[in-house]
Amino acid sequence: MKILVCISHVPDTTAKIQFTADASALDANGVQFVINPYDEFGLTRALQLNEQLGGTVTAVTVGDASVEPTLRKALAIGAHDAVRVDALATDPIQVARELSAVALAGAYDLIVCGQESIDYNGGIVPAALAEILGWPVVSPCIGFDPAGGRAKVTREIDGGKEILDLALPAVLGAKKGLVEESELRIPNMRGIMSARTKPLVITAPQGANPGSAAVSFTKPAGKSAVQMIDAQDLDTLVQKLHEEAKVI
């Protein structure tokens, strides 16, 4: 099976988010970047499938040179090769168009995305990419079992899950459950060494136009100081929830 894994390069989950002085963009100073956590579930499932079925796993990111360490990490975890589309990604539809060009050039059986990236939390790319390609999409995807050119795919829905049947190729939006947390792979020394020599191809963008653009950013207003309530006086809490907070 030939699998393309779309990797989004995002601030580490512990990062303090700050914006530039003119509030126009993320201030990346001192921010550690990682593989988007949802994409890690997708990458791990892709590697498992590769071990069972053979083929290749290619990691792709749309971004400038600063994303290359993240792609190298995907190689260290086990992807065979990587592609960087040399465009600044500012909009999900633009990203999906750039990814679709990579997808069409490679004749993939499966494209694995994350259900959303934790930077702009768009959740748009997987279904947009699938629609451009005319392929089925399942997101959030919490189970994927291929057999003979088709697959049974589990999708999380509000209050439960559903199982779908589809013909490959398809696009997935991965989430925890597709593999378990304990199955996630971390790079080992051999992986890190071999990642240095695995191919990382840089391709020119199609020049897709963004559908939207960020104008400015602010931080949410902070909470006012906490009111501590005596554990023996829960009636006071109930009263405050009713009268002050008006939530019960």
Partner: protein, 316 residues
């Protein structure tokens, strides 16, 4: 024309659907145009209830039995193109979120998700959205004449409905689905987290899965959904779908009660936009207290049953 996808769930309209309908109606009013709600597939709820939230017309497309991304996207995009809609509103439910990317491509629209308030302006369209897991607020501008707006559940307050004078149209419609739903498994009786008004959430401080009875009891008393921290779902004490936080479900209920949860930055990222936060933790230094409105230092095993009793007493 402003379009809104009136999602059904088991044939019913959810609160998030009415929020989306109200949002679309407000956009239409601000622009001096009309709002149209599109219902797809079987609906056992009366479509009049949508008109009561401000749309001028409800278009019911019969045909599809179940949600499938490509099919629903094609149907909605078809209506958007036919009516030359400038804005298509969907709610940020599992289906709404799954749909947005495909709908945007199909309808040649921009896609703006996680929207928290009515547009700041209409030409160009500018909206406010959550980004960086609620650690930031973004003002986003559409660069295309048509936009799909994904509205976060619970972000706008639902107003009382009024009398409906909406028009209704039924049509048979079909588009090809690219996947077939074989079966659905629903956790019975549970309240869907993303749109819950109240959430009772517990963490590793509960020590073992068999101790969740008191959490469920408190949730039941409040009519709340239950949630948990990530390690609790990782070790299998609770199902994945209850995991809230940066890498789980993001919630913004009226009331979030956190029990035995330390308040790690990744947890806070998914819950900090809750209107009122109550923290119960045995450690007075737990970081969660800094993000709380009300805090109780105490042992959950002692406090939670007494809190449930106090709320029951109040409700009577």
């Amino acid at each position: 024309m402003i379009l809104v996808f009136a999602e059904t769930w088991n044939g019913q309209f959810k609160k998030s659907t009415f929020e989306a309908v109200q949002y679309a109606s407000a956009c239409a009013k601000a622009q001096g145009t009309q709002a149209l709600a599109v219902v797809i597939g079987p609906a056992s709820a009366p479509v009049e209830s949508l008109g009561a939230h401000g749309v001028h017309k409800v278009l019911h497309l019969h045909g599809p039995e179940q949600f499938e991304t490509a099919q629903y996207a094609a149907l909605l995009a078809g209506v958007a193109q036919e009516l030359n809609s400038s804005i298509i509103v969907v709610s940020g439910t599992a289906n709404g979120r799954a749909l947005m990317g495909a709908l945007s491509v199909r309808a040649e629209a921009s896609a703006i998700s996680n929207v928290t308030a009515l547009p700041l302006s209409y030409s160009p369209l500018r909206v406010v959205r959550g980004a960086f897991s609620s650690k930031g607020i973004e003002t986003c501008e559409s660069r295309l004449p048509r936009s799909v707006i994904g509205l976060i559940p619970n972000a706008i307050g639902l107003k009382d409905s009024s009398d409906s004078d909406a028009a209704f149209e039924d049509r048979n419609a079909s588009e090809t689905a690219r996947a077939t739903v074989l079966e659905q498994q629903l956790a019975s009786g549970s309240i869907a987290l993303p749109e819950a008004d109240r959430v009772v959430s517990a963490g590793r401080g509960m020590k073992a899965p068999e101790n969740w009875g008191m959490i469920e009891e408190l949730a039941k008393t409040l009519g709340a959904a239950t949630a948990c921290s990530k390690p609790v779902s990782d070790i299998g004490w609770r199902p994945h779908r209850e995991h809230v936080g940066q890498t789980g479900i993001q919630v913004n209920p009226q009331l979030y009660i956190a029990i035995g949860i330390s308040g790690a930055i990744q947890h806070l990222a998914g819950v900090s936009s809750s209107k009122t936060i109550v923290v119960i933790n045995s450690d007075p230094e737990a970081p969660f207290f800094k993000a709380a409105d009300y805090g109780i230092v105490g042992d959950a095993f002692d406090v939670v049953p007494r809190l449930t009793a106090a709320i029951k007493k109040y409700l009577n």
